[in-house]
Symmetry: D3
């Protein structure tokens, strides 16, 4: 993930948290140097180290940021995730913002890894959705990759996804696909959302790249996978809970998209300690 | 919440989601008008209607946005949260972004209300922390208020909060408070974080406005409240779970701050349907 | 093309041209209303009307902008492309900026249409490249579509394009494709740039979506198309001049990408006249 | 040209081209260092080296950028315009954007130099217009200077230019000039656009600084120059083609403004090669 | 002054003043409509009405803003400068920001007018300097014009001003002017700063447009004006106080530049009252 | 004051002053190195050194900026405030902008210090208002602190200030305070503006934190201070001139707010000299 993609996000977060000045720290400290560590208070998958490093770099170039980990590593309670050295006032000013990024991103990576582990050994891969935090999609999709998932489209232009509303608007899957083929560029793949086996058949007949099985029962999915028979990638979607992952993966789908990775994620517990 | 505070957040979210163009919707629709509703798929407290309305207004001024609810209202499964009318392509383009805001904010309001209900009848009020999503603090703090909570400080300049690191840096609570009084403006209140009853006593002796009881047991909190005896506001803090709220409130503290409201929130389930 | 995609581009262009104030017009006029027309001084394909309209709307909401044309229409010398009515000073202030957009975009659309006409009747479609004006890609790709072309990828994330440097870096096409398949999301298609028939064979064997024939002779292209035999889209690329379009299209390639559409485009001659 | 004038233009160009990430290069390379050269594929005048250098600096500070040339130098086919060393992935990420700037600017400088050469030995100088690419005027005017031209005004505030529409609005050249003298600051020069010899006479009588001869025949220009007789600078303007430059310069005009330098420029052919 | 030139300045001022929300007004009012007037508490020259109007428009489109005055009018103590009607909370939110602009700009216009009156009847005009408030030059220069002054250059590119440091750098006025003529465009006028009569003579010999007499005594100015004898505009400059204006103007200089207009201006006293 | 708080202000000021290029300096100099000093031309309190340093750093990283002073120091006529070394063209380009910041901020600090000296020995402290220059509040409040004053609230969210319009809107001070207590967060202090002794009594009865005595006579202030008797901080406000400071401070008020510090400030005279 290139720094150009998050440096402005970091700057906005810092100015949001700073207000007109950190008067507490500014009153107490005046140039003292010190050391600090970021410590894991629970285990999980780490994500966001370059973002946390950017936070401290923007606060003060004199803070050194060292870590023995890299994004994607598993950390355990008590692990020293990173160590910092530099002006104490600057470290404290960056603390909350750096942790807010690191905890949120690690939380998403951890949830993703958990799902990936559950379905290990099947052909299925875990993917994400557009149900991300406004303004932070780039970071949240990166966290999903870091946790072992594979990204679905980033935005409305990345891929065609023909949903129920489009199908109804066009009159049929066939007509919707035809319109899309007339208008959209060759670089974009076409996915169709289906809710019934008839729709699945129609989508297969149109030769689309990916077929989404939306809110289907496991046995419907079984049938759909058989029907499609490798002629398109198959994505299971629609409120699939962690508990249902095993049986969904067993149907032979290629992709399972999980909105909860990003819209019900819980921050991984980390804290910063001066010493 | 004034529109100046979120219009740029909304614009960034829309351009993030749009990419270079919504080719699916642009291929299928060409100016057809339609109607849609935002429907609750679970019950909770609604927050973010003006933000959702701003989303659709930025997409296309011709979309009308009507609602019988206002922020803070309780909604139930199946409720029509809002109805929209206008160009279908524009409604679909705003759908995901509007829901991302509305679901996240309503999730926070709902979690806040749940906590508020648990401690109803006590003197305690629920408050938030700086553990918010980078860039969205203004919206998340608003959601906490909407859910019946009261906001803690917005940023580092709003209030003095002397934490363990400051106390260690200054040598004592007394010295830290003295330094802060020399440097900070009279408009800011002073809060001190305490971990022991001795620290509580020292804070009381300094005449600070608010005393935070950090990671204390319930019986320590009991003692601390007695010790302080109304001479300062008392805030209970430090990983307080929902389960512990009742007993913490029973100690007589004035404020209970909950990081989980914003950093472990789950989006409230809402969806948009064309009809 | 959604207004969110160009409104900031228009605002930057207006402030660039305005400097600290238009003192000529401001001295001569003081509120007089008037009418103006934008007239074609040569024939071509019109592109950019909504952008020109946005220019005048940003200058002064009281300017009305009317046109009997839409983007993609052919215009001829003398045609009245649009008529304006409103405060004269505002019309003159928007004149140059509106024309700069409209002329540039129409120039690109016109060049695209010319290429499309040459190969009409073949299976080939005209596509563009990333050789666009920095900051204006969204408008220039739109102009290519308006002229009848189909857009290649918008940016580095839209699609995988494995070029000679990547192949050399990975050691072989096979290895490069393998690495890409491990890292990139399923939504992106994979294209490989080839310079020899052996590379074409290797690319076909890898099952990529699109194969680019870079700087090949026409007879090499013939062979390549036969070799590929419909198992991938075929793109002819590499300094293909207008003169060579017919013979390249005759080889049966699916796409012909032309850098000159955007980096050697000449503005279509238009002017604004008050009357 | 100060870096403050183009650093944001470069950043917008990079984010435009990057999208959500360069997945091709990111998959294939992982930190390898390498070398590359930018090679001239045709001869011309180089312009834009500091902008290209800024592109690579923004991508990655570790890329070194060395060149034996400076802007304004003539380069020939095969010349190594610049050499780069650093992380290969970063070099490839900056490649297209750097070339887009360098090719466009060099194209303009080359066209300017060609015009300058044609009229060498006459008193005339080549100047530009406001027919520039929206958002890139600062770079394109710089390229004109680099090619040996002299810049006309940058924006509407820089100078007064009384055009036909202003003359008609005021009723006469005399009245327009009077109004301008009342309102505009003393720092701005006054130019009047004339279409007939009578207008030329009126402009001379008003004592303006520069008189533009718009769309005049060569013999009209001859007469006008005689009439003006050194009492104002004389600018020839209006669709003057390259072919007509010699005879226009021979009339003794001081300036020849050429819109085609910027709105019909063709990019100079350059490419980047890893080795 | 076009709205594009100040709308972002106004938005920054409003967000600066708003912080995270106006909690006082938000607590007390909830939608009540009301009326208010802006009243003059001292007499002076009004400047900034469109900027004040923009402030209220950005706060809430439903506020009507009416005035019987226009910029440049003289107002007296007790005059109702403007009347407002709309939501009270919105009026109060805009109050301070609108007054801050209006008072500052009117203060500058008033000081300018005072200087203009003192020298009325002489050939001299009052002009300004670059000693303006960072970020507000466009507004302050406008206020100078509104007060009857004429603007000096807006920025470093507008005009050449050869100062003592440039003369020393080049070796002589002659050499400095020669270098400038080689490099700068014909649209910019050339001014030279002189401190002695010898320098004045050299500047006249170079044929520059404007000669600045810097920190000269009145009798030196007399001599300089005689020496120059209409061959260039003459600007008196250098800490000229209000008291010295009459005698400086009597020397026959064309321009008197006054830094104090913008860097020692006092806000004109205005207040807003609800009724 | 953290650099994040002013770096964008500095960049806007530089681009405002630069326009399209400094052609004078660019013509005369070409890379020569030199030295310069910033010299005090009158005595006062220095404020803004880090801002001036940031100006030169943004112009050219190669300029060194050295000073023996720090903000808050008293400087006297002739003092060398700072010395610079680096490319002459860059130093001259930063000169005016750096001085504009430094002079304005030092002017405010000087005026503040003068007021502080007058009331030395009393319990009163000097504070500021929201009557600051739009967009520069952060710098002007910093200058007040530098001069020995204490900052009043930064923005509308920082503190509750119940003014006459709020009291009238709510019906009484009591009701206004009650509404504010229901809606606003516990972190904000509450101040009430009073104009009569009855209002003072009512405010005391409400237990607010700070009571403002607005436009009262000195004897009214005496009475009010007695009435309040330490139960709230007391702020004297309302057009208090320098002449009246002594008698106001003698009443025993805690704070005296002075709008003139920021809205009638005069720049401290400084200049930059090359040598």
């Amino acid at each position: 993930m290139h720094r150009l993609l998050y440096k402005d996000i970091v700057e906005r977060a810092l100015t949001e948290d700073l207000g007109s000045e950190d008067c507490t720290t500014g009153s107490v400290f005046s140039g003292e140097e010190g050391k600090a560590v970021i410590v894991a208070k629970e285990s999980g998958v780490l994500a966001g180290l370059p973002v946390a490093e950017e936070v401290f770099a923007q606060v003060n170039r004199q803070i050194s940021f060292l870590t023995a980990f890299q994004d994607g590593d598993i950390i355990n309670t008590g692990d020293c995730v990173a160590s910092l050295e530099g002006p104490i006032a600057a470290i404290l000013m960056g603390e909350r913002v750096a942790l807010n990024f690191l905890q949120r991103m690690s939380g998403i990576a951890t949830a993703t890894r958990a799902a990936v582990e559950i379905i290990r050994g099947t052909r299925a891969r875990i993917t994400d959705t557009r149900k991300t935090t406004p303004g932070l999609r780039i970071l949240e999709k990166y966290a999903v990759r870091t946790g072992g998932g594979v990204n679905h489209r980033f935005n409305l232009a990345d891929m065609v996804l023909i949903k129920d509303n489009h199908i109804r608007g066009a009159g049929s899957i066939r007509e919707a696909v035809a319109r899309v083929r007339r208008c959209c560029g060759f670089p974009v793949k076409i996915e169709v959302e289906t809710e019934t086996l008839d729709e699945v058949k129609e989508a297969v007949a149109c030769g689309v790249d990916i077929i989404m099985l939306d809110n289907m029962t496991t046995s419907q999915m079984d049938e759909a996978v058989n029907l499609i028979d490798g002629r398109a990638l198959v994505e299971a979607s629609g409120g699939i809970s962690r508990e249902r992952l095993t049986e969904v993966a067993a149907t032979g789908v290629d992709l399972i998209s999980l909105g909860y990775l990003t819209n019900k994620s819980r921050a991984l517990d980390l804290s910063l300690k001066l010493y």
